[in-house]
């Protein structure tokens, strides 16, 4: 058995993919909390990237943390896994592009990934690496997660038991 086959078997195990899904969901929930509490500081963080016209920044600062917390919670619970993985993956892709362009342009700014405090978290190459790691988790969840250890599965199993009785 080749190394890749062994790896594939390991990664495709329901428990492993479920753990990845819960971990990715938890990352998004944790990341959203400070942004929800401090929307103005988060708007400044987005402005610091100087990627978007200032007219749209507040709208994004209002909506993005809630999208993160809701998609993250759904991922943890295993509700609409593929849809929420797609949302989280798209967000991670956008974050990666934003971080990469800021690094290339030499903007000395905070990432704003987990905190809105501008001096707490200086952006580095590792910020981008972590985003790409989480994006790879999302891809693995999209490919291998079949909804085991999810809320939907619990309800379906309950129904099946009732029907079999």
């Amino acid at each position: 058995m080749s190394f890749f086959t062994t790896m594939r078997q390991f990664i495709s195990q329901p428990l492993f993919t479920a753990l990845l899904r819960v971990a990715l969901g938890a990352v998004f929930i944790v990341a959203s909390l400070d942004k929800i509490q401090n929307p103005e500081a988060f708007a400044t963080t987005i402005a610091n990237y100087r990627l978007l016209p200032y007219t749209v920044i507040n709208g994004i600062a209002i909506m993005l943390p809630w999208l993160e917390v809701i998609a993250g919670t759904f991922l943890v619970l295993g509700v609409w896994i593929r849809a929420n993985t797609m949302i989280v993956g798209a967000l991670l892709l956008v974050f990666s592009i934003a971080i990469a362009q800021a690094l290339v342009r030499g903007l000395d700014i905070s990432c704003g990934c987990f905190t809105t405090n501008p001096v707490a978290e200086t952006m580095s190459f590792w910020t981008l690496i972590w985003d790409l790691i989480w994006l790879s988790w999302g891809i693995l969840i999209w490919i291998f997660d079949r909804g085991h250890y999810s809320l939907c599965k619990v309800f379906t199993a309950g129904k099946e038991k009732i029907v079999s009785k």
């Binding site: 929307p39 400044t44 200032y54 507040n58 209002i62 809630w66 759904f74 849809a83 000395d108």
Partner: protein, 174 residues
């Protein structure tokens, strides 16, 4: 393929539902809170410039007139292209202020050759000149200042300019 298409449609519908739900919760919550954000960020936006140097300082029109024509002094027009083409301080460089796009390395290198850089817009309360002067100063070119009275004040004080006077300018051109 048909099953995949149906599956993708289902995923797209679920994504739309999550987006709609999140958007609704976000905007309702924002409306309900005391420290709510306005939907559109007011200009000038607060943001952090690329370095921690000090921002630019103001210069009054009399000081600017005294600097005019001397070697190593640059006047920088921070307004939009249409305003610059209508009229500007004689010999001024045109570097329109952009919130999204920071000054390029080439532009900054070009500005480094000057001893004093005076940035201006139309009016006294224009923000773009302050922001651009701040950005130039924060990029390490410390002698970047902004003209307090703007182009309008410059013309009133008898400063030299090319093109039309600022009387007919659209306010939105800064």
């Amino acid at each position: 393929l048909l099953i995949k298409m149906i599956e993708l449609k289902k995923v797209a519908a679920q994504m739309a539902a999550v987006l709609l739900f999140s958007g609704s919760v976000a905007f309702i919550t924002n409306t309900a809170r005391d420290d709510r954000l306005p939907l559109v960020m007011p200009f000038p936006p607060s943001y952090q410039c690329p370095s921690s140097e000090r921002p630019g300082v103001p210069v009054n029109v009399q000081q600017a007139l005294a600097f005019f024509g001397k070697q190593g002094i640059a006047f920088v027009d921070a307004r939009k292209k249409v305003a610059f083409e209508q009229g500007h301080i004689e010999g001024a460089l045109h570097i329109p202020y952009s919130f999204v796009e920071p000054l390029s390395k080439e532009t900054l290198d070009r500005l480094r050759h000057f001893k004093v850089i005076i940035v201006y817009c139309n009016r006294e309360d224009s923000e773009a000149s302050k922001l651009l002067a701040g950005e130039i100063a924060q990029a390490g070119i410390r002698r970047a200042v902004y003209l307090e009275t703007g182009f309008i004040g410059w013309v009133k004080a008898g400063g030299r300019y090319t093109g039309a006077g600022p009387g007919s300018y659209d306010e939105s051109t800064l």
